[in-house]
Symmetry: D3
Subunit: 233 residues, 6 copies
């Protein structure tokens, strides 16, 4: 099984961290193609940057679609997710939706930790659109630029722990790392906080494997039916 | 007051129709700039095409932002609306959101008429995201490609009337024309059906004028705060 | 275009302030009739008072209905709004609904500033009924009787600024002045707070103008169909 | 215990039927005062008429408030219910809210039978406001003017049975008679349909007795706190 | 009328308190059978214990079903409520649902006081399932084991008063005692707090009496239809 | 990794089918323990039977908890799911919740096919409780007793195809087999209908593997925290 893991920003460092995480949890029989666009924003901290990154990601997907069995969109904003599900038939999984569905199974209320204050509003909007508002406990920011997260791991760990403790006081039963740039911090944080911490990259890879293995596809009826001019079946 | 009305597809014909409609309802003191991208899809019938069109629209907006007092996004899918509200401070109004808020004032339940069967699912998703699901009566398709709508006005009128009658049986108290390509068909259809028919281009222009005239702006706090790298105030 | 702006309480001072605000934002071609009942409560701070005021307002509307193109109901509780939409065909706009729909366009979350603690519960109920609960950030009271608001402008400004700052901490991206008695305080407060502040009287007038100009009416099918004994079309 | 049962319309016949029903189910120790306004609409088939009737009902309540232990508002639209709960401390029960809460205990989904097509929209709005939309199966009309319901009992029974059968096909597990004018038809219809049929007048009386007996009152904190001192011209 | 009041835990003391409360509010003509299982958990503080208690309660109900006119399930978690409504036709009322519907009539927002921190999450889940989330103000715990509540009445009263005051600050307009073990503390607490306090055992008994008296039954169509192998009508 | 797959009814045939399905999709390194209670109902077609089966399942889980890394509850009603998540720390996955979260990733709207008409109401209730009502298209019954499903595969296939076609007309984009007794019919039906068909047993096994592999557990904070020390007579 070949899974394309696409980091829609151009940060090579973040792509490398995503690759490490994905390799760590993939099944032995899974082959991963972890990639990112050559141009576009180096981190996605706004809808504007997400729009640019979406185009670049769609180009990558179109060029590789013959060779892949599933796609993991490795940015917590799920940018361009609808369009990707529309042009492909193989399972496409956003890491935000993957992590949220797992959180709903492990506890009643989840909190999301994000990089920037601005992301708090964006995440709240995302949770609303995904239909999980009744299960959301809070969204807490570590107030660090996305590109600093992997670059300054000690500061990140410290701030994640602080934010996680506030989230627990908010009523969180599970924690989601709400940024692909936070991948790899899950196990340490889980140990620190004593409640499950979900790494969304892991969630995306495992769910994509599961769907593909089960022979399931994106439904080509209704919302994600092929664009009229691209019909291919 | 200068209002940019942007048709995110490249159809000159549809841009012309949008201009006609917008000119018809604008205030005397309003100057309209009605435009469309030079490249990109000629009609937007999928999320994929919306993604491409979003990039083109954002480029236009960026190049014109110094000279405009408000923006009307004249495509019923509201493509790229979040990003546009994020990079601008002047009011940005999507024609879908404008038409829905007007519908909620005129009656309890509204129906939306769309071009294609695929759009039915996309609209349902849009209504859900805009929070108006309890006010939606039904979505009915005329099953014509978007570019045919203006090209074959008689067929369009006939099919709109049929779809509108079905919508009334579904419980519609008002009708929204759910496609910029349907602009200009409102008054005739309203006469035919006997209930209010909302032309979303008109709704967008009038709401943009109103917001701008009132001295209101997009809030630069929270969801639509400027992208971190673009902060300008 | 003739718009009836009806202040359902009997305060002449408040009616005067409403008139000033409405005149300030109306289109040149709009003629305003701003009025209030001769008897009834001088301010509406309860459902009980709203019930009395509704009767008085309905009488005014019935006597003037031949001569008007739209109605603005200038009390933030939208008292009697259903009945008014029912007996008229011309657009009837409540200033609460008008301000809320504008707020949803300018930001994700809005807060409402009200006069009295009791109004906090009444507003929460109103927001719930209008379907905007997911967009509400908070409701904050300045704890002043309605009739003091215009009478003591300095105290009002000071308390509004304090309440507005608390609202921003609650997550507000826009602020709505949740009482017709607060009309005219919008621009100063907006400058103070740095986020959009919506004057609901302005919102009501501009929306009524827009709907009327577009040739739209209250739907006489379904919820707002004429009372059985009054059918007139 | 003295319970005021108020029929807000002026129909003596309907008031008599309401009295009969109320007497039938009251506890032995309960004394009923069943009354209706002297002037106002003879039946309430619109929000406009409800507004007039509200004023008349409030006057009755104010004049009797010293002598009563609970109030039942015997009109299915619950007109003026908020105001009544506000000015009184003794339990005030609307027959619509009473019947809906009983229905939610007896089955998952309920349907409401109403007199007129217009009432279908009004009931849908009422159910939404009372928060029971997820429990509503359908609203079906017998298409008879309210005053005919008691006057033509055979036709009413026949049409109720037909409407009830359609409601069962819609998924109804219980039926609510959605008009005080339908009081007394419950047991016959229940026998006919084989599922529980709730007479809202009975529901209101029994719930008012229960609340009063338990020593409960309307909360005078928050939404239903007393109106601030009334000022009238 | 014979009402079975079933305490699903095995605490004789709590069963006695429930009996006292039920006797205090029942109608003169009502005969109460108040009982509890012989084996099973002595208090229900988890879903696990509720599952065991459900089986014991179902056995009691099955053995007594010929002789009873209604059932009150006297545990605030409503354990096994669906199954009980399914196997019986006479009204079955959970004390949680009974208290919540009464609270919605007396005020806009209610708070629930519970015994243990763990119960806070369980109650939140229960409120969500019963569809009253928009009416919930908060859930506050007295942090005492269930069996201590009746055993240490002074401590309980003190802690309830403290928790009730916090609930009022949260916005509560009414208070519900969210544990059968708190039965009998309502009137004292109501006096202390000045807002209505609902004893759920009382609510359950009065609602069961009312439903039975009205000739209503659990609907045997849809959700609560008899188990296929037990069909009896 | 050892996964306990528990069929809560006593049908050996159905347990065998569940084993076959589970073996088909498990990872090579996964060891399955597929079992069912020795006593209790042979099929679960009511809440009553679910209550009995829950006790038996809990007993099995308690006796095996030292030796397992995850649990799959293989009955579509998710009976006893809360209690199981409460007493265990290893991931516990209900096949209903697993299938629904997968369906939300593959399309906008899903339909569920069930065995009996009674299950339609039970499923609707389940979907509501799991929070997926906005994503549900319809629930369609094949009207066959659960134990006949595997026993008469040709009739089952035929009726599933018919029900699936009706579901597609209802707007389904994906289909869920809403009964463990339907396991194994997915691929054939998927071929027949042309849209994704989700076998919930497969969904449960793959999700349990994923969660366990990621090092995640049920959160022991909040809703699923361990039962306080159990006291039993």
């Amino acid at each position: 099984m070949k899974i394309l893991v696409i980091n829609p920003n151009t940060s090579k460092r973040m792509t490398e961290e995503i690759r490490k995480t994905a390799e760590m949890v993939k099944n032995p029989g899974t082959e991963l193609i972890v990639t990112c666009p050559k141009k576009g924003p180096e981190s996605l901290e706004s809808y504007y940057e997400e729009s640019i990154a979406t185009m670049e990601s769609l180009n990558i997907i179109e060029s590789m679609q013959e060779r892949i069995d599933a796609v993991v969109l490795a940015c917590y904003g799920d940018p361009g997710l609808y369009a990707m599900k529309e042009i492909l038939k193989v399972p496409v999984v956003g890491i935000a939706e993957a992590s949220m569905v797992m959180a709903t199974i492990l506890g009643q209320k989840f909190s999301i930790l994000v990089a920037l204050d601005k992301s708090v509003s964006m995440m709240e909007n995302l949770v609303l659109r995904h239909g999980f508002k009744d299960r959301l406990s809070s969204i807490r920011s570590v107030e660090m630029p996305v590109l600093d997260l992997e670059a300054k791991p000690e500061e990140t760990t410290k701030k994640l722990t602080e934010a996680g403790k506030r989230a627990i006081q908010d009523g969180a039963e599970t924690i989601i790392l709400g940024c692909a740039g936070l991948t790899g911090f899950d196990l340490k944080l889980q140990k620190e906080l004593g409640i499950p911490v979900i790494d969304p990259v892991k969630a995306g890879v495992k769910l994509a494997e599961a769907l593909s293995f089960m022979g399931l596809t994106i439904s080509k009826r209704g919302l994600y039916s092929y664009p009229p001019k691209m019909r291919r079946d």
